[in-house]
């Protein structure tokens, strides 16, 4: 096993596979779950599939004096369980994160425990069999499970982002294990999210956010599109979300909600505007809740704080299975959500 240049890196000889997995634990290379030992030939295979040598710089974090090369990323990708075809998704995601450096640090250190969100669009979804249907936010799919995991392992092993020392997340966040899924473009009433964000339908893209755990909105009994949106907006108004106002949001609309919304004529733009209008609270309430800084002044009840600065900061996509009427809200940080073409 080898990883180059990383602290705790070392070439280790192991007599068998199980022992090699245990050695990875001893080296501190795991997120708690067993990892695939990063044997040299698997790391090379990962790199060669993308035409990389191992020397390329993928992401750096100056304040930790660290640079992650393609070899470092490949080693963590192998450990996470990635197949070579997944590798361009990882490098594109890491480069997108590096476009706003402060958030590389924030995503690995903050007390609020953010995760890295990756949403896949375009042909890549089926090329790597990513899940965009039943249980897309949960376990059971290799691509969804290991892509997010690989990013976190890069942070943990590359930037020493381990709980209690350099990762100071107060509570942690299960989405830190992985938060990766694809959009169900085929069944969506709306154009694919990446097309709405300026890409061609046949482009493969990853949309990257520094984000928190999905919050499920189980609006089972409403018969209208507006009732679905009311439930989502009401959740967006809660103290746990309103303290981020204005922020950026990813709304994962479940298929049955999408059908109802479509039948009632709600476009993506309509949904975004509804949230701007209805996911809003007076400043005075936010101060009383202790989620905005006081003291309260005259007129604060007239100052309306909205969930986002711009409707385009509310990303709307469709995904999930049928049988239930659920959608999810994913709240994010101030890292500007980016969509990038994979492999460029």
């Amino acid at each position: 096993m080898t990883t180059n240049d990383m602290e705790r890196s070392k070439i280790v000889e192991s007599s068998d596979t199980i022992e090699a997995i245990e050695e990875c634990y001893r080296m501190g290379w795991s997120d708690g779950l067993p990892v695939v030992p990063p044997v040299d030939y698997k790391v090379r295979e990962m790199l060669e599939s993308s035409g990389m040598t191992g020397e390329e710089e993928i992401i750096s974090l100056e304040m930790r004096n660290r640079v992650l090369t393609s070899e470092n990323v490949a080693a963590n990708a192998v450990m996470a369980g990635c197949l070579p075809d997944y590798f361009p998704v990882l490098t594109t995601t890491l480069k997108a994160l590096e476009e706003e450096k402060n958030f590389v640090h924030m995503a690995s250190a903050s007390t609020s425990s953010p995760a890295i969100l990756m949403v896949l669009n375009g042909p890549i979804r089926d090329q790597i069999n990513a899940n965009y249907k039943d249980g897309l936010l949960g376990p059971g799919n290799r691509a969804n499970a290991v892509l997010g995991r690989a990013i976190r392992l890069c942070f943990m092993n590359g930037f020493d982002a381990r709980p209690g020392t350099l990762d100071r997340g107060t509570l942690g966040n299960p989405a830190k294990y992985t938060l990766c899924f694809a959009e169900n473009e085929e069944d969506s009433p709306w154009e694919p999210m990446h097309v709405a964000r300026g890409f061609n339908e046949d482009d493969s893209t990853v949309t990257v956010a520094v984000a928190y755990n999905p919050v499920n909105v189980n609006a089972a009994y409403g018969h209208t599109g507006e009732s679905v949106l009311m439930a989502i907006a009401d959740t967006l108004k809660s103290a746990s979300m309103a303290f981020r106002y204005p922020s950026q949001w990813v709304l994962v609309i479940g298929p049955e909600h999408a059908i109802t919304l479509n039948e009632d004529g709600w476009t993506r733009k309509d949904i975004q505007e509804y949230m701007m209008e209805n996911a809003a609270r007076p400043q005075s309430e936010l101060i009383r809740l202790g989620i905005a800084q006081g003291p309260e002044r005259d007129g604060d009840d007239k100052i309306i704080r909205r969930c986002a600065q711009d409707p385009e900061d509310i990303l709307v996509l469709m995904g999930g299975g049928t049988g239930g009427r659920n959608s999810a809200i994913i709240d994010t940080t101030r890292y500007k959500i980016r969509t990038r073409k994979i492999g460029t």
Partner: protein
């Protein structure tokens, strides 16, 4: 910033001491001096914040310019 020639006085709260130590080691300056304030800060009133800042000021001054406000009193 120090490496760019800009004198700095870094302040952390005491619960981040181990994180600060880890950072200084990673940056290759294990002896980098920083100021440790009492935790927490974000829940203080404006007045309490002011008091805290005043209490820390001599240390900030000492690190930045090598003297202390107490000395000039």
């Amino acid at each position: 910033m120090e490496r760019l020639g800009l004198p700095t006085a870094s302040i952390i709260t005491h619960v981040f001491n181990n994180t600060a130590k880890a950072m200084t080691r990673m940056m290759g300056v294990p002896d980098f001096e920083y100021i440790v304030a009492e935790h927490p800060l974000s829940s203080l009133t404006d007045e309490q914040c002011q008091e805290r800042a005043e209490a820390l000021f001599p240390e900030v001054e000492r690190i930045l310019v090598g003297s202390s406000a107490a000395k000039s009193d």
